[in-house]
């Protein structure tokens, strides 16, 4: 068998990784915004959206991987799968994240000062740690697929991590537009600095992914990745320039437009990354070498 493109996992897994990534990325960003700025309502919306988006992603994943045997799906959370499989570990981590994430934000609608209480803070820290693991998880899930060199590349979890954070931040930039007040400069300074760091991390990960050439199959996948990745790089460099401009004294008057464009571009770029990496996965060639 020659080098062939994988067709096993498709659109639903792509949507899962995209939504799950945003859901994981937006939570820590929202928690930071809640404690460091006055824009608390917006931050609470972000925190609420995090677990909801992960639930939406999980539903997509279940439709793709669990639709054939829905009554047996609980087995994913049992041993021995949890010991070795990232699909099992990821399912457990995502369920815990949903519980702790919602457990932090939902009581705030009834309990005053819950978010700042000791119990609330412990819940928030656990949820943030779980969110950061989920951010990398989608890359770890793919990296266990040894048949596909592009996916089993060690850079993928790092790229997944930064993509999740940047798309989460992108959505937060868009949400913050609905609650603009006099304090937008402080909010933007936090989102701008964090966004810049995430974008740089993402660009370094993409560069590493594209520059590795361990074998022919990987190179074939990279050939297919070049066009979409050039769009992705544009979708990352443009917001990076805009965010840096927004942080400068000249950009203060254009923060609304900068936030809107950067948010949209980060989300578009994040989706293209997820889509192109899953679609560009190629199997190893199984051609038997001729005898010497």
């Amino acid at each position: 068998m020659a080098i062939e493109r994988q067709t096993v996992w498709g659109n639903l897994v792509i949507i899962d990784t995209f939504l799950g990534g945003i859901g994981a990325g937006i939570f820590p960003v929202s928690v930071i915004l809640y404690f460091l700025t006055e824009m608390r309502e917006t931050a609470i919306i972000g925190m609420l959206l995090g677990p909801i988006l992960v639930i939406a992603g999980l539903i997509c994943l279940l439709l793709e991987v669990g639709s054939r045997s829905p009554l047996k799906i609980y087995r994913v959370l049992l041993f021995p799968g949890l010991l070795t499989s990232w699909m099992s570990r990821g399912a457990l981590i995502q369920i815990l994240y949903i519980i702790f994430g919602l457990g932090y934000v939902v009581p705030a609608f009834w309990l005053d000062r819950w978010l700042e209480s000791v119990g609330g803070l412990v819940t928030a820290i656990i949820a943030c740690i779980l969110a950061l693991i989920i951010a990398a998880y989608h890359g770890l899930l793919l990296s266990q697929a040894r048949a596909i060199p592009l996916w089993s590349c060690s850079v993928l979890p790092l790229l997944s991590f930064f993509t999740a954070l940047s798309t989460g931040l992108g959505l937060m930039l868009l949400i913050s537009l609905a609650y603009i007040n006099a304090n937008i400069e402080k909010v933007f300074s936090i989102l701008g600095i964090a966004g810049g760091a995430f974008i740089v991390g993402e660009l370094i990960s993409i560069w590493s992914l594209l520059s590795l050439r361990p074998n022919l199959t990987y190179s074939e996948s990279i050939k297919r990745l070049m066009k979409p990745m050039s769009v992705v790089i544009a979708c990352l460099i443009l917001p990076l320039i805009l965010l840096v401009y927004g942080l400068s004294p000249y950009g203060i008057t254009h923060l609304v437009w900068i936030s809107a464009f950067s948010g949209i571009l980060l989300l578009v770029g994040g989706f293209i990354i997820r889509y192109s990496i899953i679609r560009a996965g190629h199997y190893y060639s199984l051609q038997i070498p001729l005898p010497r």
Partner: protein
């Protein structure tokens, strides 16, 4: 490919993929959820999931119509769960119980080895340096596919 370090077993989220002491890797169909993770993990593309029931001929034969609950666990394959070669482990187990030797006695040997008209397939104990398979691998420089991945498959190819 019945690897010593099977990628499919490592990724299986339900523990449906199991490796026996003799090295045969098989699937517990009752545990398999059909997630297809093993399909993207196996470098040899030895895994397949059939979306619908498929029969050898257009209509099911009496063997294919045999009720699932009456079959041995490893023969309860249905559509929607992963499938792979089992090295006809039911034949091997039955043969060993009768005191036969796999790879030598046809009753204890996989059906494909018995049926191959070119006699291009061999089966036996790789741990035994005096077995026919060990001898053939040594004499004819047997090799394995994608050895660099560290899966350590049990299937060898004989180049000449």
């Amino acid at each position: 490919m019945h690897c010593k370090n099977p990628a499919c077993k490592e990724v299986c989220p339900t523990g449906a993929t199991t490796k026996r002491e003799d090295g045969i890797v098989f699937i517990d169909y009752e545990k398999c959820i059909g997630c297809r993770y093993c399909e993207v993990a196996c470098p040899y593309r030895a895994r397949k999931i059939y979306k619908k029931e498929a029969y050898y001929y257009v209509k099911p034969t009496i063997y294919e119509e045999f009720p699932l609950e009456l079959r041995a666990p490893h023969q309860r394959h249905t559509a929607g769960v992963s499938s792979k070669c089992t090295f006809c482990m039911h034949r091997i187990d039955k043969g060993i119980k009768k005191g036969l030797k796999p790879g030598i006695d046809p009753e204890a040997t996989p059906a494909c080895v018995n049926a191959c008209i070119a006699k291009a397939r061999y089966f036996g104990d790789l741990d035994d340096p005096n077995s026919e398979v060990s001898r053939l691998i040594k004499e004819r420089r047997g090799f394995r596919l994608l050895e660099e991945l560290g899966t350590d498959p049990s299937v060898y190819y004989l180049p000449r």
